[in-house]
Amino acid sequence: MTSGSAFFQQIVNGLTVGAVYALIALGYTMVYGIIELINFAHGEIYMLGAYFGTIAAGALLLAGVPVYVTLPLALLAAAGLTGLYGLSAERMAYRPLRKAGRLAPLITALGLSIFFQQLVLLTQGAKDKVFPLAITSAGVTLGPVRVAYIQMLILAVAAALMVGLQLFVQKTSMGRAMRCTAQDPLMASLVGVPVNRVISLTFVLGSSLAAVAGVLVVVYYGKVNYLSGYTAGLKAFTAAVLGGIGNIPGAMLGGIFLGVVEGLAAGYIGGEYKDVVAFVILVLVLIIRPQGLLGVRVPDKV
C-alpha cells in the first residue's frame, strides 16, 4: 500500500480529479441555488462538452490549425456549443414546468439525461472517442511528487474559472441579479430583475463550466464515451451536496475535498473501495451537518 513518500503524490492525483468535480459541481449548485432544481442532466452536459471539444479539435487539426491554438479554440467551441445546449434545455424542458411543483422538473431532468445519452450513442456510436491530440506526458518532479504539465493546466484553468465566477457573482450587476433571484424570484421580478434572463444565464454558465471540465478530462484521460457523464455527474452532485448545495464556494470545496478523499481511499484502501469511502463521508456529513460543509441553514421560503 501507499508509503509515506507517496502520500503527497496521492494528494496531487486527488486534487486534479477534484478540480474537475468542482467545475461540474458549480453547475449543479448554481441551478439549485436559483430555481431549486436538481438538474440531473448536468452530467450529460459535461459529456456533450467533451464530445464537442474532441470534434472541434479534430476539425481544427484537419484544417491545419497549429497545435497550440487548437486546444484553446476547442475549449471555447465546446463551452459555447454546450452553453447553447444548456440554454435550450432550460427553455424547452424546464421553463414550461417552472410552476409545476418539484417532481415534474426532476423527472424531466432524468428524461433529458437519457435523451442526451442516446442522442450521442446514435450519432457518435458506442465506442470510446479518442482525443485527436496526443498531449505530452512530461512534467516536473518535486522530490517524491511528480506533476504532469497537463495536471497543472487542469488546476490552473479550474482555479481561474472559479475565481472568475466568484467575482462575477459578487461584483457585477448581473451577479447581483442572480443573487436576488436566488433569494426570492417573485420579489426580484417585482423590483425589475429580468428573472427569465437570469435563469437562462445561470444554465449557460453552468453548462459552459461543465464543458470546460469535459474538455480538460478528455485531454487528460484521452477518451470519452456516451456514458461518461453518468458517473462524473453523480460525483459532482455529491460534491455539491457535500459543500452545501446552492453555495458556490461550497461546490468548489466539496469537489476538491471529494477528489482528495477518493484519491487517498484508492491509494490506502484500494480502488474498489473509493466510492464506498466517498459516499460514507457524504452520509456522515449529512447526518452531522445536513446543510453541507459551507451551507447555511435557511428558513423555509414560503
Binding site: N13, K223, G270, G271, E272
Partner: protein, 378 residues
C-alpha cells in the same frame, strides 16, 4: 382488461404463435444446415461480419466440391447482438431450424449460455473466438474451441518474460472481470512456476474508472520494470498514459483484450512504444494460409483477426461429418475428437475438453506506433 378482452387476446396470440411455428419448419433433408452465429449488429458488427465471411468462403468451397454426404450445405446467419440472453434465444432458433453445426459465438459471455442449448440438443458448436476457459471446461462433448484459451495466453506471456527479461521486477494488475482476473491469475501462476519469484506488486484497476493514478502511484513505490495487465484496451491505454504522466518508465504487457489500435491512440503512440501484447500470429504471414488468404481477399477484402478461425470451424465440422458418415451431432463430435486436421494454422487436434492442443499465442510489440509481430525465436 376485461375477461372477454383477455380471451380474445389469447386467441389472437395463439394464432400468431401458430403462424410463427409454420415459419420455423425444419429442413426437408435435402440440405445440411450450418449456421454462423455472432454479433452481427451493434458495436461488434465488424467482428460478426469477419466471422460470417470466413464461414461463407468455407461453405462455398465445400459446395463447389459437391457438398457433404451428397447434400448441399446451406449457411444460416444468427445475430446474438453480443447479448447473452439473445445468444440463448438464437441458439434455440437454430435448433428449430434444423441446424446441425454452429460456427460461433464471438463473445465468451454468449458462447457459454448458448452452448448449454447446443449441448442439450446435441448440436456441434465450434467457437472461433471465445477464449474464456469456461467455454470448454464444462467438458460438453459437442463443444469445441478452434482458437486459444485465456490461460494459454497468460502462460505465453509468462514464458516470454522468463526467457527474455529474466531479471525483471514484475507487477500485475487486473480489472476484476472474469476475463481480466482469469488472465492475470494464469499469468501469475505460470510466472511463479517458471521463475520461482513472486510479483513485486499486485493491484486492481476499476473498469468503470478513468483515473488509475492512485494504484499506479502505489505501484511506482515497488519500482517494477514491467507490468502485466489482465483487462481490455480502454483501461490498458489509460494505464500506460498515466504511468508516463507519473514519470514511470515501466514497460507494459497485456493480452488479446488490449490488442486494438485504439490502445495506442488512447495511450498516445509515444507512451505505448515498446508495449507487449500476446495475440494470435499474423495470418497473412503464415505460409500455410496463403492460398486461403488470397481467395478471401479476392472475395471480401481485408481478413479480420478471427475470419480464418471461422473458416476453419466450418471445415473441421464438415470434415468430421464426412468421417462420421452422418449428420448426427454426437457422431460428428466423436469423429472430430478422433481426427487430426490440416488447417491454415498448421496441424490441429483437439483434447478431451474440445480445446486445441497447441497454444497459438505469439508476442506482438508496439513499434513506431504500430503493432508488429515479434519473431518466435527472439
Amino acid at each position: 382488461m376485461s375477461l372477454r378482452h383477455f380471451t380474445a387476446c389469447s386467441w389472437a396470440s395463439a394464432a400468431l404463435g401458430l403462424l410463427l411455428l409454420v415459419g420455423c419448419a425444419g429442413t426437408d433433408g435435402k440440405v445440411i444446415r450450418v449456421a454462423c452465429v455472432g454479433p452481427m449488429t451493434g458495436e461488434q458488427a465488424k467482428q460478426g461480419k469477419d466471422m460470417l465471411e470466413g464461414a461463407q468462403l468455407a461453405v462455398e468451397e465445400w459446395n463447389a466440391k459437391g457438398g457433404v454426404l451428397g447434400k448441399k450445405i446451406e449457411l444460416l446467419v444468427g445475430d446474438d447482438a453480443q447479448d447473452p440472453k439473445q445468444a440463448n434465444a438464437v441458439a434455440n432458433k437454430m435448433f428449430t431450424q434444423g441446424v446441425v453445426v454452429i460456427d460461433g459465438h464471438y463473445n465468451s459471455s454468449c458462447t457459454i449460455p448458448a452452448s448449454e442449448v447446443y449441448n442439450q440438443r446435441k448440436m456441434v458448436c465450434l467457437t472461433p473466438a471465445s477464449t474464456n476457459p469456461q467455454v470448454t471446461d464444462r467438458k460438453y462433448p459437442t463443444i469445441f474451441r478452434v482458437c486459444g484459451r485465456d490461460d494459454q495466453q497468460g502462460r505465453a506471456a509468462a514464458q516470454w518474460i522468463a526467457k527474455h527479461l529474466p531479471g525483471a521486477r514484475v507487477a500485475v494488475l487486473d480489472d476484476k472481470t472474469t476475463y481480466g482476473q482469469g488472465l492475470a491469475g494464469e499469468f501469475t501462476k505460470s510466472y511463479k512456476e517458471l521463475t520461482g519469484k513472486e510479483p513485486v506488486f499486485t493491484g486492481v484497476v476499476v473498469k468503470e474508472d478513468q483515473d488509475h493514478t492512485p494504484v499506479l502511484t502505489n505501484m511506482k513505490g515497488s519500482s517494477p520494470d514491467i507490468v502485466y495487465f489482465g483487462g481490455l484496451y480502454p483501461q490498458g491505454g489509460l494505464i500506460v498514459k498515466q504511468m508516463r504522466q507519473l514519470g514511470m518508465k515501466t514497460s507494459f504487457m497485456s493480452g488479446d483484450g488490449t490488442y486494438d489500435p485504439e490502445f495506442i491512440r488512447i495511450a498516445g503512440p509515444e507512451n505505448a512504444e515498446g508495449s507487449y501484447l500476446t495475440f494470435i500470429p499474423d495470418q497473412e504471414k503464415l505460409p500455410t494460409a496463403k492460398k486461403v488468404v488470397d481467395a478471401y481477399k479476392k472475395r471480401f477484402g481485408e481478413v479480420g483477426p478471427y475470419s480464418l478461425y471461422s473458416y476453419e470451424a466450418i471445415n473441421i465440422a464438415l470434415q468430421g461429418m464426412v468421417k462420421a458418415g452422418s449428420e448426427d451431432g454426437e457422431k460428428v463430435a466423436q469423429a472430430i475428437h478422433s481426427m487430426a486436421f490440416d488447417t491454415v494454422f498448421g496441424p490441429m487436434q483437439f483434447d478431451a475438453k474440445g480445446d486445441v492442443l497447441v497454444s497459438p499465442y505469439v508476442m506482438w510489440q508496439v513499434q513506431g506506433g504500430k503493432l508488429v509481430q515479434l519473431p518466435a525465436d527472439s
